[in-house]
């Protein structure tokens, strides 16, 4: 039987993290009331004119440099003409002839041999949002998203499986977030990917006819769409059919794709240079400045954490999973905390709190200075880790200084041997059975007894002292 190879290229659209839109000063904030972030420019009112947001070029440059693109010395905008209600000017300002960057590359994480070539990176404006109104069977248009800046990152067809495609997306997403280019929230549409899929007989060189898949709104959906589409094409070819070059819409609920009818197929966009926008000259000084201010990339951080702070490879990777964790780590260490302590706390208690609160890591409002103080108190034997956990829980909802809180609530560790001895004695007295079990050789009973002492001290007892005292007093029970 013939075997096939799947060939995948990705077109990723990402909304840039700017305050204002690409060609006007309207806000880019997500989730506002319809048409409340609009002006004559983004509504395309007659006579209104675009003026480029400097930060858009700046962020685009950052990504181009980080992906080794060659920078177009004089980059231009073109108009892409088509009629659709989400596009109020009936053209999208984009870049066809002179995109800002070309011929870049991105290395995958889990497929180290695979270097994905980036065909081009270009700047463009986003379109509005359409919703269907079932009552009138009409569409409703909200133009708030019109003019939100986008970068489109077009890869070469260098990927060979859904896994590779997802690796590429995850790597790119992480890069975009660490560079401060985009927040990449797929659920808010700030990262979207169209996937070009074709298949060819294994061992052959010529590319098959490709289809473009749209409307996948999660990584999971992208993976499924690729697998589904490549299988559809293989089945079709095996039946002697032909692949049509077309755009297909993925339906996540039905787990199927459908050929799109209207806007995308057989279009003639009549691109031409936008006469309203002068070219943007990217001179050496500008490029150098962007290069100098380039944020540290995730893999650079990862290696620095291992070498500078002696964190394990696992920890370093986890902490560079998203920019917030990395910045929390760095800031807390900058406040004087011990790197290993911070790492262990973030990956332990912090993430646990997020899981129980069902929120993002960045949603917790604890400041790095407070966290550093808390960790220092553990390190200096001022409080136990148990106490620290409950103080931390309190800190999630309250703006407090952990040191004064510990002082005011008498949470400092109990180190007084006489007090502790009394506490241990009373626990042993009340737990006759456990004492007997221990003396009969059940080591576990000791752990239970220590736990009882800790509980009695409300977590404040110095665990090392408690351990020692419990052993001593148990031994005393051996001699009648």
């Amino acid at each position: 039987m013939t075997t096939y190879e799947t060939i995948i290229g990705l077109e990723v659209h990402t909304e840039l993290q700017t305050d204002s839109k690409i060609f006007c000063s309207c806000s880019t904030r997500f989730g506002q009331q319809p048409n409340t972030q609009c002006c004559p420019v983004c509504l395309g009112l007659p006579g209104a004119l675009p003026v480029l947001n400097r930060q858009v070029a700046e962020l685009a440059l950052r990504l181009c440099l980080a992906t080794d693109c060659s920078i177009t010395p004089v980059t231009r905008f073109d108009r892409k003409n088509y009629f659709y209600p989400d596009l109020p000017k009936a053209y999208q300002i984009s870049q066809l002839h002179e995109p800002i960057g070309r011929n870049g590359q991105l290395c995958l994480k889990d497929f180290p041999e695979r270097v994905v070539r980036i065909h081009e990176i270009h700047m463009e404006e986003d379109a509005g949002k359409l919703t269907h109104d079932p009552w009138s069977d009409q569409s409703l248009v909200d133009y708030n998203r019109c003019g939100v800046p986008l970068l489109e990152i077009v890869s070469e067809p260098d990927l060979r499986s859904a896994e590779e495609a997802l690796d590429y997306l995850a790597t790119l997403r992480k890069l975009l977030m660490f560079l401060g280019v985009s927040d990449c929230r797929m659920e808010q549409g700030s990262l979207r990917a169209d996937v070009n899929v074709s298949v060819r007989k294994t061992g052959t060189q010529a590319l098959g006819t490709r289809t473009e898949m749209k409307n996948m709104n999660s990584f999971k959906a992208i993976g499924r769409a690729i697998i589904h589409e490549s299988q559809r094409q293989i089945d079709l070819l095996n039946e002697g059919g032909m692949i049509l070059q077309e755009t297909r819409r993925w339906d996540e609920n039905k787990e199927m794709s459908f050929a799109m009818r209207s806007k995308e197929n057989a279009q003639d966009y009549r691109y031409f240079p936008d006469p309203d926008l002068p070219p943007v000259k990217l001179d050496k000084a500008w490029i150098d400045r962007v290069r100098q201010n380039m944020p540290e990339r995730p893999e650079q951080k990862q290696s620095r954490y291992q070498h500078e702070w002696r964190l394990s490879a696992y920890e370093a990777e986890q902490l560079t999973d998203e920019p917030f964790l990395a910045s929390l780590l760095e800031q807390t260490i900058a406040c004087g905390a011990n790197p290993a302590d911070v790492s262990s706390w973030i990956l332990g208690e912090w993430l646990q709190a997020c899981r129980s609160g069902n929120c993002d890591a960045s949603d917790l409002s604890v400041q790095p200075e407070s966290l550093a103080k808390l960790l220092e108190m553990i390190r200096n034997n001022v409080i136990t880790r148990t106490t620290a956990r409950s103080v931390f829980t309190y800190m999630l909802d309250h703006q407090i200084d952990p040191e004064s809180y510990v002082r005011e609530h008498g949470l400092a560790m109990v180190n007084d041997l006489d007090d502790l001895k009394q506490m241990v004695a009373s626990v042993l007295e009340a737990s006759e059975q456990s004492v007997k079990d221990y003396l009969a050789g059940k080591e576990k009973a000791k752990t239970y007894l220590i736990g009882q002492v800790m509980r009695k001290s409300r977590g404040k007892a110095n665990p090392a002292h408690v351990n020692k005292l419990v052993e001593e007093l148990l031994e005393q029970h051996r001699q009648p």
């Binding site: 409703l140 248009v141 806007k263 240079p273």
Partner: protein, 102 residues
């Protein structure tokens, strides 16, 4: 000029395709008129082909200028009513249009 026959510059097929692209619904009469007009006009215009432009950079603007940029400052927008009041069909703060099918 793939779609034009012989030395014809625009055919009826081209006219009808162009009208579709421009979202103009032209009746037979209009299509005839514009086919004739475009043919006449382009026939006159084709004389620019006597000039050799192989080595010439296109001019997108009347003069050279570049880097007109604005800073990334978001400003508050005006109330949506300022724009929505211009439209006939509005619902729930949105513009209403015929169903857009994908």
């Amino acid at each position: 000029m793939s779609e034009a026959k012989n030395d014809e510059l625009v055919s009826r097929e081209v006219i009808s395709r162009i009208a579709k692209l421009a979202r103009l619904d032209l009746d037979d009469n209009e299509q005839n008129t514009y086919e004739h007009d475009l043919e006449t006009i382009l026939d006159h215009f084709k004389k620019i082909n006597v000039y050799d432009t192989k080595q010439v950079e296109p001019a997108y603007h009347p003069h050279d200028y570049e880097n007109k940029l604005r800073e990334d400052d978001a400003k508050p927008s005006r109330p949506p009513q300022d724009w929505l009041a211009l439209a006939k069909q509005v619902k729930d703060g949105c513009y209403m249009v015929p169903k857009a099918v994908e």
